[in-house]
Structure formats: C-alpha cells, structure tokens
C-alpha cells in the first residue's frame, strides 16, 4: 500500500495499524525518516517536497512490486509526505511484514534506497542563506546500487 500526502505522518499510529493488518507475520520492520535540522548551508528552516502524480505513484508501486518479487512479504506500506515540512517532521515511513525478519529488513532497506535515489520527487531546502534544490548524495547512489549488483551475482 502506498500513500503520498501533504498530511503529517504519525509513525507510531501507522505501526499500530500496520501490525493489526498483518496479524500472521512473524516479523515487522519499519523505517521512519525525519527532516534533518542541519544542512551544509546551515540550519534548515523548511524542506519542500514536490511529486508528479501519477508518475511518482507508479514508480513507487513498481518498486513495491519488485520488493514483493524478491522477498516473501505479507504486507508492505510506504507513506511519503509532500509539501512543506519542518525539521523533525516525519517525511517517509516504510513498513514490511514477513514470516522471517531478514526478508522484512531487506525489503524495507531496498524500498528506502529506491525512495532516496529514484523516486520522482524534487526537494528544496530553505536555510537562512537561501533556498536550493537538492539531489541525492553519492552515498545514496552507492546504497541503491547494492541491489542491482546482487542480481548479477
């Protein structure tokens, strides 16, 4: 399941609801990402995130389908916030449920790597020194490339 919305994400509430939707799962892994308070340019005032519907949704749905084909998952949830956010706000929440923990850990990790590098979002950071659009870091691309390497082994 996927939801992209300008509404705040309550990670605790989402976990509770996810747990009740996946009662038979042996393991649930969740990741929640928050807006960082500091950037290279200084203290972050706001972070603005822009999506392009339905292209953004289609891409994430395809990544979820890919995760489901790689691991035996009982359920998957991806929530992503768009619009204007403040430091400390939850920007993304990913949950994966599986019979065994490794599949749940790997699927959540895989989905986060997709979201950080390939998901169709544009991100603008505003600091006291001005606003600028940011792109993925080299480390994000290196993380994401782990999953393509795996296929060729």
């Amino acid at each position: 399941m996927l939801r992209i919305s300008g509404d705040p994400i309550d990670a605790g509430l989402e976990l509770n609801q996810f747990e009740s939707r996946a009662p038979g799962a042996g393991g649930i892994v969740t990741f929640s990402g928050q807006v960082r308070p500091e950037a290279q340019q200084g203290e972050v005032n706001t972070l603005f995130l822009q999506a392009y519907s339905p292209m953004t949704e289609h891409g994430i749905e395809a990544a979820i389908a890919d995760a489901r084909s790689r691991w035996a998952l009982d359920d998957v949830l991806v929530l992503h916030r768009i619009g204007e956010m403040k430091p400390g706000d939850t920007i993304v929440f990913v949950a994966a449920a599986a019979k065994h923990r490794r599949a749940a850990f790997d699927a959540a990790d895989f989905l986060m790597d997709y979201l950080k590098t390939e998901a169709v979002f544009w991100k603008k950071e505003s600091t006291a020194r001005g606003a600028h659009w940011i792109e993925p870091r080299d480390a994000d691309y290196a993380d994401a490339s782990r999953w393509t390497k795996k296929e060729t082994v």
């Binding site: 992503h80 544009w122 792109e135």
Partner: protein
Amino acid sequence: MQKILYFGRLSDVTGTSEEMLSIPAEIETAGALREWLDVRFDASGALLDPTVRIAIDSEITFDTAPVGDASEIAFMPPVGGG
C-alpha cells in the same frame, strides 16, 4: 491549450510550476518545444540541459516525440529523491 509543467529547479527559472499554453503549430516535437520555451523564458539553456527529461501525458519521452496531441507536457530535472 496544453498544460506545461516545470519541476524542481526549473520552476525557479520559469517563475511558475505550471501554465496553460497555446503551442504554435510549427512547434511539432518535444525538442522544438524545449528550444522555443528556453528562448521564451530567457532560460540560458536551463531547459536544453540533456539531464532535463520531458514527459508527455506522464510518460517519459524523447525530443523527437510529437507534442501536437499532448494534453500535459512536463519538464523534469533530475529527481532529488525522497
């Protein structure tokens, strides 16, 4: 009238994230539209950057794609990720 979208840093260059536009009949392809808009916005090549991809009705396409029947054309700089 066709809807044109400018994402990410391009909206800073164009001053808008979307507009309704009557594309002149002689602008037949996505590539020609790119060049025409770059001049129109005095964008100094920002729209010509090969990393800026063009989507027609939500499908990423090539500069050779015809734009005549498109209802929505999006100019997409590299994504920033979530």
